[in-house]
Symmetry: C2
Subunit: 406 residues, 2 copies
């Protein structure tokens, strides 16, 4: 039984670190704010008697022993945020894991399986790509040295920033024991739960996706005396492809989405034809084939646009995540916990990527979704009522307890 | 007779101030580099015995008296540059005016009309808009207090920056005496002279133009779980309009051009739907009616795109310059000077804006164009051979001498 008042207090405490004027959160991975929230989390975990460890990629774990020599149940999410993002996102998932331990401590309950709370490094993928980076390294999907060498927009190296904030730990960034299951609570970030009037979501899987960037190289020149047919404008083909990225999904699957979130043009002067423009693509779908098709289509559009405008181009895929389905054991534990607590739940396939994606190759995995008001996220206006937070945390705590007991 | 070696030396001297690694010039208006080149120019002018004055908008004048009480002949251009622009642009025009005085001094020639060398403030219009700002204020086209209040991308106020570099002078920014004519040498910045194999251009007028910015206000949201039909993406309509800005000119005049040089998207994160995007338009044509038509068309495209995507929008016209035709007296002086020196010249209508535009309302005005290799400008690769520089400077010096003598 989760104490709602304490849940709200804990959520408000964490949301104060990196709070924006607009009521959101600006807590980019490996920033000073990220260091502050990590310090806070370490204190919370130590206060609950957990055995805290930090791995070489900054992933933070807090361990509570079980009564038997059984594989561990891992519960958590991430504390980093988007630029001017919301305060619920993955934060609620880490707080839920803390609540799990608090409930067990308060009731003096021991579990057969050990339990670990986890805070993954850089789930958001905004400052450094790929997203779900810490969990991906831990799962062996990414090479740690390659990821250390990533640089942000200002050229700051990942490993240097990790050391700067003091969170390059001494434990290897990989599973060092056996795990029974991974459970993650996250806000839905989409409109389906609210629209159906549900209290909580039982997640059955996560869409696959491709992320990447295209750069067009044209030639900076004067916007006045340069006749249209002489131009090699790097922005026009970028604009052409961006409009196609918006339209490709309509020709593919029912749940396909496609977006450009980032664009940078140079020299970016009102009377200079842009000489170099970089922008990103992102496509997602429950089917890996559809994702591959969207990827092929955007490259074909870029090639056609480059030819039309007579410019050079290159591309770089920055992330490819397969679509995954969750384990019956976990889906059933979540659905059962929601039912037992009298919540109206529905099965839902996640349209966002989650650290859970990477856990599926290592252990049984499941997720709980909290209602997202208006489906909004990655925005200061992101909102989940405390009622809905409480329902999702309660479901997570009980499902995790179920998985941690024989 | 202009000394080519000295011309080259002077050009190289000025190009050293704000030089880029790529052989270009980065000397934005009111920057430290602009201060340095102004100091250099003041020394040059004083060294030639000119009476130097700086007006309240930073326009710099160097006066050489005439033998009669006649209106002044004004000769010059501008010393500021685009971001990572070229070293010839308007700089060659100010150097030509210095050369005019040097030739007269060397030969001990006095003219009936007084002669003034001028360096206009912020011709480029990149850091602050509008372009041709100093000449526009001086001609009474813009209100000086409004222009003082302009801010750059970082919020730095024009007047504060002008004071910071010490070039807010004590002379009013307006004509304080009568002027006979204005003559300006500038590089063509287009391909026509080179393609026709000409030595120098006799400019007959300048295109009109409209510049402005459009902002779309959508809603930042997650690029994954937000279904396509729920989105209010601010970048997609921007991309739609940018592709139209490229295409509108093809449906208008033969010399109509249209461009987007600047774009800024927020929050600019790979997995966030852009919530706010600002970008610019620029259209030019020899006919004011065509310019107005292009302006109406881009607004109609923006309205349609905003409706398609369900976003709000606003726009701001940042500059509207009328098309102008130059005075016969000046056109003939330039054509005659080119002929006399044995140069192959052609008449040409300028596709770029020039300070000369604003002078047409005050006095007879004319321009000389130097050949632009490959028509390139606003780019470090901008190039004019010393041969072609010499031809254009010689033409300017002789035409100005012609205008300054009865
Ligand atoms: N859940 C979430 O926002 N993850 C960040 C990576 C993504 O864009 O899906
Ligand atoms: N000549 C020139 O580049 N002027 C700057 C304003 C314009 O873009 O025309």
């Amino acid at each position: 039984d989760v104490d709602k008042e304490r849940l709200v207090t804990t959520m408000e405490e964490q949301a104060a670190i990196g709070a924006t004027d607009g009521g959101g959160l600006h807590r980019l991975t490996l920033s000073d704010e990220d260091k502050a929230i990590r310090d806070w989390l370490r204190d919370e975990m130590e206060g609950l008697g957990l055995d805290v460890r930090v791995d070489a990629f900054g992933n933070m774990f807090g361990r509570r022993e079980g009564t038997e020599d059984l594989p561990t149940v891992l519960v958590g999410s991430h504390m980093d945020s988007q630029p001017y993002g919301g305060i619920y996102d993955g934060q609620l998932g880490v707080v839920a894991a803390l609540e799990l331990v608090r409930c067990l401590e308060r009731e003096g309950i021991e579990t057969e399986h050990p339990i670990e709370v986890v805070n993954w490094t850089n789930e958001e993928g905004s400052r450094y790509q790929p997203a779900m980076q810490g969990s991906g390294v831990w799962a062996g999907v990414h090479d740690i040295d390659e990821q250390y060498d990533q640089t942000d927009e200002n050229g700051a190296r990942f490993e240097d920033e990790l050391e700067r904030i003091g969170y390059k730990g001494d434990v290897p960034a990989e599973p060092t024991e056996e795990y029974e299951a991974y459970l993650e609570l996250h806000i839905e970030q989409g409109p389906y739960l609210e629209e159906g009037g549900h209290d909580v979501g039982v997640v059955t899987g996560v869409v696959g996706f491709t992320w990447g960037a295209i750069t067009f190289y044209g030639e900076a020149d004067h916007t006045g005396p340069t006749p249209m047919e002489y131009r090699r404008d790097a922005l026009v083909p970028a604009a052409d492809v961006i409009t196609q990225i918006r339209r490709i999904p309509g020709t593919l699957g029912e749940r396909t989405v496609g977006s450009t979130g980032y664009i940078d043009a140079g020299p970016n002067s009102i009377n200079v034809i842009p000489g170099e423009v970089t922008f990103t693509w992102g496509f997602r779908d429950p089917s890996d084939e559809v994702v591959e098709e969207a990827y092929q289509r955007v490259l074909a559009e870029a090639e056609a646009a480059a030819e039309r405008e007579g410019v050079e181009w290159e591309h770089e895929e920055r992330m490819r995540a397969p679509s995954v389905e969750f384990a019956d054991q976990c889906v059933e534990a979540v659905a059962g916990a929601a039912d037992d607590a009298g919540y109206d739940s529905r099965y839902i396939f996640s349209g966002a990527g989650h650290d859970a994606t990477h856990m599926t190759s290592l252990m049984d995995t499941g997720m709980v979704f909290a209602v997202s008001d208006d489906g909004k996220s990655h925005n200061e206006a992101e909102h989940t009522s405390w009622e809905d937070c409480h329902a999702a945390v309660t479901t997570t705590v009980n499902a995790a307890y179920d998985l941690a007991t024989e």
